[in-house]
């Protein structure tokens, strides 16, 4: 039942990414070439709206449905954040997608995004293996 709520949430978010043209290689390529500023506008408005909404959530001090506390913790900072960000950015430019939009692309019929998704799984697996070496039984 809980899983279904998350699948539905993911579907709504995937719909919004698609409607925002964030699943369009040309839009992302054009953004980095400064030829098409549409996605910069989307990201800017999204950050401002989310900031306002999260501020209201924090101020109201409410709990989530079912009484679970809402976690608003920052992601931890460490020295590899910037370098990891650069590596991610290069991949973002090469494939013209990010982790979420690659999956939404699959639903749009862009079967070629399967190559991107498999790449992401491989890169994730490699990094996880490096940071947590498999235990010897």
């Amino acid at each position: 039942m809980k899983a279904l709520v998350f699948v539905a949430s993911g579907a709504l978010f995937g719909f919004l990414l698609s409607a925002a043209r964030a699943t369009d290689y040309t839009a992302i390529h054009g953004m980095f070439l400064l030829k098409d500023l549409h996605l910069f506008g989307v990201i800017g408005v999204a950050v401002a709206t989310a900031a306002l909404g999260l501020w209201l959530v924090r101020r109201a001090g409410v709990r989530a449905l079912g009484g679970t506390p809402i976690s608003l913790a920052h992601k931890p900072f460490h020295n590899a954040v910037f370098a990891g960000g650069i590596v991610f950015g290069i991949g973002w430019a090469l494939s013209g997608t990010c982790p979420g939009t690659a999956l939404a692309q699959l639903g749009e019929g862009k079967a070629y995004a399967l190559a991107t998704v498999l790449g992401i799984v491989g890169g994730t697996w490699l990094r996880q293996r490096q940071t947590s070496p498999p235990k010897v039984a």
Partner: protein
């Protein structure tokens, strides 16, 4: 082309999704770590298992949006990549696979992606997310301009 909503409507909906999702689930949106869950699927489900479910929903949304826009069709070759860089099928495929690998490796190193860092983290005013986003943009701009210089751009 998909639905192509104006940037401020699409941006407000994506941004508004974040607090609504927090109110419903108690959680902050994040996508790249869903791939980690997939990589550790054989292990017992931990507190992050919801990210896998969320990730599985994303294609359904893309399907609905492209269906509504009347643009749903099967595309096996990334024509936009070919058109933008004037490269062949093999190079196009390689760009997607290598790009994907860098995305996965970089996101796990930086601790998040464009959703978790650049939308949610920036909205929270987190230092790590600002630094990560600056990295995303630096890498993205540098790689795009380098690629266009190397390939000569649109054929």
């Amino acid at each position: 082309m998909t639905l192509d909503w104006p940037f401020w409507i699409a941006g407000a909906c994506i941004g508004g999704f974040v607090p609504l999702f927090a109110l419903v689930s108690g959680k902050l949106l994040g996508i790249s770590s869903g791939y980690s869950e997939l990589c550790s699927i054989a292990k017992p489900a931990g507190p992050e298992r919801w990210k896998l479910w969320f990730a599985l929903g994303l294609p359904l949304g893309g399907f609905a949006a492209s269906g509504l826009a009347g643009t749903h069709r099967l595309e096996t070759v990334a024509e936009p990549v070919r058109a933008a860089l004037g490269v062949g099928d093999v190079a196009t495929l390689a760009l997607l696979v290598v790009g994907g690998a860098l995305i996965g490796y970089g996101a796990r190193t930086a601790g998040g992606c464009t959703s978790g860092h650049s939308i949610v983290g920036l909205a929270l005013g987190a230092k790590s997310s600002l630094v990560a986003t600056l990295g995303f943009m630096a890498g993205g701009f540098a790689a795009t301009w380098a690629l266009v210089a190397l390939t000569g751009g649109a054929a």
